[in-house]
């Protein structure tokens, strides 16, 4: 088979997509993270680059710390991306019935992934911009190089790790180990779940060294910094060279492994289990006249507006990263990010009001106070992701005394958001129009709370 069948198909698809959809969707999806990274510079500067204005003796450790954190986060992103691109890829059904060369398929998938994530380079460069702004241009360049090296190692290493995980999942030699560690996960899936963690553990050995080399390298101390800087890339190249035979041996097996995993879940899932949604256990603790409304909202919201609900955890994670920092302003930053997440994700409440099916309004009794209480309670429950992640981070890093005000303020904001949403529900389809300015004002106020002095 000529080597470029997959590459040509990908190129043709890109061409048609651009012709039909135009450049705007592609450009905007690539530009958005870069713009966000650039706009967030005042915050990231205060939280992650506080060492630039502190005692010079903290410069090396501060630079190592921020580079390491970003590199590991990017490595984690690469692991997830590669899982989607090579294990749960949309084209698997199509390609699995053809005599494809697994090595070529995986190489083409990774090539596409590198293209799709090309924005990482300018976004990472924007994130580290405070270094250049403070006059440390060489450190800026080296830190970006370390992070991009970690990403490359993550992409190639994760592909190899998932393919190896398939062998482990099918091998009788590993059966007893898998049984011991799998918990409630199907045995076929356990190696795939442990693969990113294993990669993170192994890769971090090299990335820690590379991150530690940023400061000496930027001062012109080349040895052994160059070695540590190059090592993740060299290892990635070495893995890449072995990837083709590995993929040829295992690519088709991924298909039947994934089929087995899905079938296991399907066979476990009874009718009631199939209806289960995030947090539906909450309703057990509610009085019967509230329970029905809460369950309806939990199910409807999770099925129709899952992105907003999941985003609370994303916002919470960002706030937790801020809370984890040793910078003096970190708690204020965490609070600001948490408040923005709570008000932003609170939008789901008014959206639910807007897109509630008409037949439900006609069929169900008016509900009154119980219905409003259920809506507020459900919304507050969904928003807890944005509260508890930063609170835990603050409690571990700074102690309970400092975490408590953060908890109380964020919990209070969930109550205010819930009350606002319930009050605006009377406006039905116009609720969103009324909510957005209120949320915007709250968001700006939060930014002022967290703004670096």
């Amino acid at each position: 088979m000529p080597s470029d069948a997959h590459a040509r198909a990908a190129r043709q698809q890109r061409g048609h997509r651009l012709r039909i959809d135009g450049w705007l969707p592609t450009l905007s999806s690539a530009a958005l993270p870069v713009v966000v990274a650039a706009l967030a510079t005042p915050y990231t500067s205060a939280v992650f680059f506080e060492f630039l204005t502190a005692d010079p003796s903290r410069y090396d450790s501060g630079l190592r710390g921020v580079t390491l954190r970003v590199a590991l986060a990017v490595l984690g992103l690469a692991s997830l991306d590669v899982h989607v691109a090579t294990v749960r890829d949309e084209d698997r059904t199509l390609l699995s019935i053809l005599p494809v060369d697994g090595g070529q398929v995986v190489r083409a998938q990774l090539r596409e992934l590198l293209l799709q994530r090309a924005w990482l380079l300018p976004a990472i460069a924007a994130f580290f911009a405070p270094l250049s702004l403070a006059g440390h241009v060489a450190a800026h360049v080296v830190a970006v190089a370390v992070v991009m090296g970690a990403w490359l190692l993550g992409v190639v290493g994760a592909a190899a790790m998932y393919l190896l995980a398939v062998d482990v999942a099918r091998s009788p030699r590993w059966r007893s180990v898998i049984e011991a560690i799998r918990g409630r996960v199907p045995p076929e899936q356990a190696p795939l779940i442990y693969a990113p963690g294993t990669l993170l553990g192994l890769a971090s050995l090299f990335i820690v060294r590379a991150a530690g080399a940023v400061a000496p390298l930027s001062r012109g101390e080349l040895w052994p910094g160059v070695l540590w800087l190059a090592l993740p890339v060299v290892i990635a190249a070495g893995i890449f060279a072995r990837l083709t035979p590995l993929a040829r041996a295992s690519w088709f097996e991924v298909t039947d492994l994934v089929a087995d995993i899905d079938a296991r879940y399907a066979s476990l899932q009874g009718d009631e289990e199939g209806r289960r949604v995030y947090l539906d256990w909450l309703v057990r603790f509610l009085p019967a006249n509230v329970r029905v409304w809460a369950l309806k909202d939990l199910r409807h919201g999770w099925r129709a507006r899952r992105g907003w609900i999941s985003a609370t955890w994303g916002g919470g994670l960002l706030a937790a990263l801020a809370a984890w920092s040793g910078a003096p302003a970190s708690l204020a930053q965490a609070l600001a990010i948490g408040l923005i997440a709570v008000w932003g994700c609170g939008t789901v409440g008014v959206l639910m009001e807007r897109d509630e099916p008409e037949f439900l309004k006609a069929w169900l009794p008016p509900g009154g106070a119980q219905r409003r209480f259920a809506r507020g309670l459900v919304l507050m429950s969904w928003l807890q992701g944005a509260v508890w992640l930063p609170v835990f981070a603050a409690a571990i890093r700074k102690g309970g005394a400092q975490a408590t005000p953060l908890l109380l303020t964020l919990e209070l904001s969930t109550v205010v958001v819930a009350l606002t949403v319930v009050a605006l529900a009377q406006l039905r389809v116009n609720a969103l129009t009324a909510y957005l300015p209120i949320a915007a004002v709250a968001g700006i106020a939060a930014m002022m709370v967290g703004a670096p002095s």
């Binding site: 699995s96 097996e253 298909t255 039947d256 089929a259 087995d260």
Partner: protein, 239 residues
């Protein structure tokens, strides 16, 4: 004795505790047109997916022209043109580009003939995202025909086709069988399979419950036999 086109050797497939296919032994000779029928959950799709290499048997082997589908996945796929029940295409390619891709992957194949056999010639340069469900199924069938694989496996492939298209596809399949291709077609529609196939295999609860030549059956007889065997299988299950 020649190597059979398809051979299921004591094949069993479990999904957790659920038995999807239960000790199926089956031999299909070269150049035959075989239909598989069965109730929902009878094991038709799982059997065909094992033949396509999408699902691995828990026990036993599935062979295509003597090649083990799971031990030699590449060799087996060179011998099989497959149309899964939920067949996929690249939506941002035209039908012609998609079939050219398939031909390249298969190491050659007559794209124009595949387009002509499935009646897609006039629409070949339209993007597949603009195609109806039925046209996408025809494209998937055309992809299975590219490269003239000796075995065609079609899972519910006539579903969603309008009557003229379905008739055209059946005629195409019959012509290919006459040229020596082996066709295995699963369907819910008993009349379709009786009219198209030479031999019909009935599955119920993962087992083969009947294996008959359609030439020996009168009008409506296949449906009667199917219902009778299904009832017997259910009764055996209850016991």
């Amino acid at each position: 004795m020649s190597v059979p086109a398809i051979h299921f050797e004591n094949v069993r497939k479990l999904f957790g505790r659920v038995v999807a296919v239960d000790r199926v032994d089956l031999t299909i000779e070269r150049g035959s047109f075989v239909g598989i029928i069965g109730h929902n959950g009878a094991g038709k799709s799982t059997s065909l997916r094992m033949l396509m290499g999408l699902v691995r048997p828990t026990e036993g082997r599935v062979l295509v022209q003597g090649v083990d589908v799971h031990q030699q996945p590449l060799e087996a796929r060179r011998r099989v043109g497959a149309v899964p029940e939920e067949s996929a295409v690249y939506p941002y390619l035209t039908a012609r580009e998609f079939l050219e891709f398939v031909a390249e992957v298969r190491g050659g194949g007559d794209v124009e003939r595949a387009l002509e056999l499935t009646g897609l010639g006039e629409d070949a340069d339209r993007l597949l995202r603009e195609y109806s469900q039925g046209m996408r199924r025809k494209t998937a069938l055309a992809a299975a025909l590219v490269g003239n694989p000796p075995v065609l496996v079609l899972d519910e492939s006539l579903n969603g086709l309008d009557p003229p298209s379905a008739a055209r596809v059946k005629a195409t399949l019959r012509a290919l069988v006459d040229e020596g291709t082996t066709v295995l077609l699963s369907t819910h529609v008993v009349d379709t399979v009786q009219a198209a196939a030479d031999r019909v295999i009935m599955l119920a609860h993962g087992r083969v419950v009947a294996d008959v030549q359609t030439a020996s059956l009168g009008v409506g007889e296949l449906e009667r036999l199917f219902l009778e065997r299904l009832e017997q299988s259910q009764e055996a299950g209850r016991r």
